[in-house]
């Protein structure tokens, strides 16, 4: 199959690794346009599954080494999925909102937690890292196949579309502690850039929240903060 190094402008992205590819085949086979197996891939049960799903969905399968040299530096990647980019529309309900995220791996880890806590709606406010970067897809462990992603030019544009959502910006100087807030639904959990956080203007958006921590660190890692917020906001649902 014809494979080019990934670029943001590409119409397709790549799922790297059997686990991630299987998530797409099981959940969104309509998005998979091809699967490439490494000639040294020996997991016959997985190969059988891949071949069956691909046959049923008329997805091309090939066995060749070269695409792995082009796309993957990881030694333990033996399956590549070619994935149509699938930005869609958020559904009404609970959302995670990332304002100007800059790290692809972080975004993927947030997708994994969002799907885990059953908030599979991710709003991304530009400028932002590419949500379809293969690094994002891989860090999501395939959760990218189960999440609605919608990109907005501004936070105002997002907010205008979901006037009923309760807005909770997470800020180092948010006025309430997470453990003292009863998060109401439908909620929007809002997080800023890894290095700079949310602009001060978010102090007047909804109820700003802080996750208190000691002075030993400047801030929590972004996916950690987002996941603690998701856990806390949904813990009543998982009793």
């Amino acid at each position: 199959m014809k494979i080019a190094r990934y670029r943001k402008e590409s119409e397709v992205t790549y799922a790297l690794g059997a686990t991630v590819v299987m998530e797409y085949l099981n959940n969104r086979p309509d998005l998979v346009t091809g699967v490439i197996l490494h000639p040294q891939f020996r997991a016959t049960e997985t190969i059988d599954k891949i071949n069956t799903i691909c046959k049923n969905n008329r997805i091309e399968v090939s066995t060749e080494e070269k695409p792995f040299n082009i796309l993957s530096q990881k030694e333990n990647c033996f399956v590549i999925g070619i994935i149509k980019k699938h930005e869609g529309k958020l559904t009404a309900g609970n959302h995670v909102v990332l304002v100007n995220p800059s790290n692809a791996g972080n975004m993927g880890t947030i997708m994994r937690s969002s799907v885990g806590f059953e908030v599979p709606n991710l709003a991304i406010i530009k400028p932002a890292v590419d949500a379809f970067d293969p690094k994002t897809i891989r860090a999501s462990m395939g959760a990218a196949a189960r999440i609605n992603i919608q990109t907005f030019d501004s936070f105002e544009e997002y907010q205008a579309l979901f006037p009923d959502n309760k807005m909770y910006p997470f800020m180092l100087d948010g006025s309430k502690l997470l453990q003292n807030v009863s998060v109401e639904k439908p909620f929007s959990l809002i997080f800023g850039n890894e290095a700079t956080g949310l602009p001060d203007s978010f102090q007047s958006v909804g109820q700003p929240i802080r996750i208190e921590h000691g002075h030993g660190i400047d801030s929590l890692n972004l996916p950690i903060a987002a996941s603690i917020a998701l856990f806390s906001a949904t813990s009543e649902d998982f009793r």
Copy 2:
């Protein structure tokens, strides 16, 4: 300065990046044996700080490019710290216990959260990834400078040293949900390997806990699970 590519057997490790180096210089200058500045590093304020601390602590400083080519693939790394490995002894109190962790970046992210939630004691049960890998130090954002790390050959060896600690193994099939457990102190929050989790034998250790999530994912990312547990176990302290 003489720099060799990092190996597990090395007596020193490397802090890569100004933020991480400054954490060591501010908190543990006794562990820093040298600092290398990139010839293109232009942050004069940071350079002044580094020079002052190094002068006061008799730490050698040099400006040269070659070590960056040996140690760092990242383009945005302009400072290298040479750090004596500093495994020590856990202090009595709350601990995080990692059983057979396999990913250096994950371990660093857990250090950052542990320091953030003021549980700066990390027990590592072998076999385990190298806690002093530069990738660990970097992912910790320098929190590695503020944490006690002690490695044990077995969980039993750890447990025998801290008979008063309440043990909370985190398992996908733990019998109680995190939000329904009142974690008692001193606590030991125990986590298994990224791929395999904790062995079944931990079902009979203390109170096994699960962080419930939906079927859309197999498990939460390890640092995410550990950080949610830390947040939950310490939230009374940060009111």
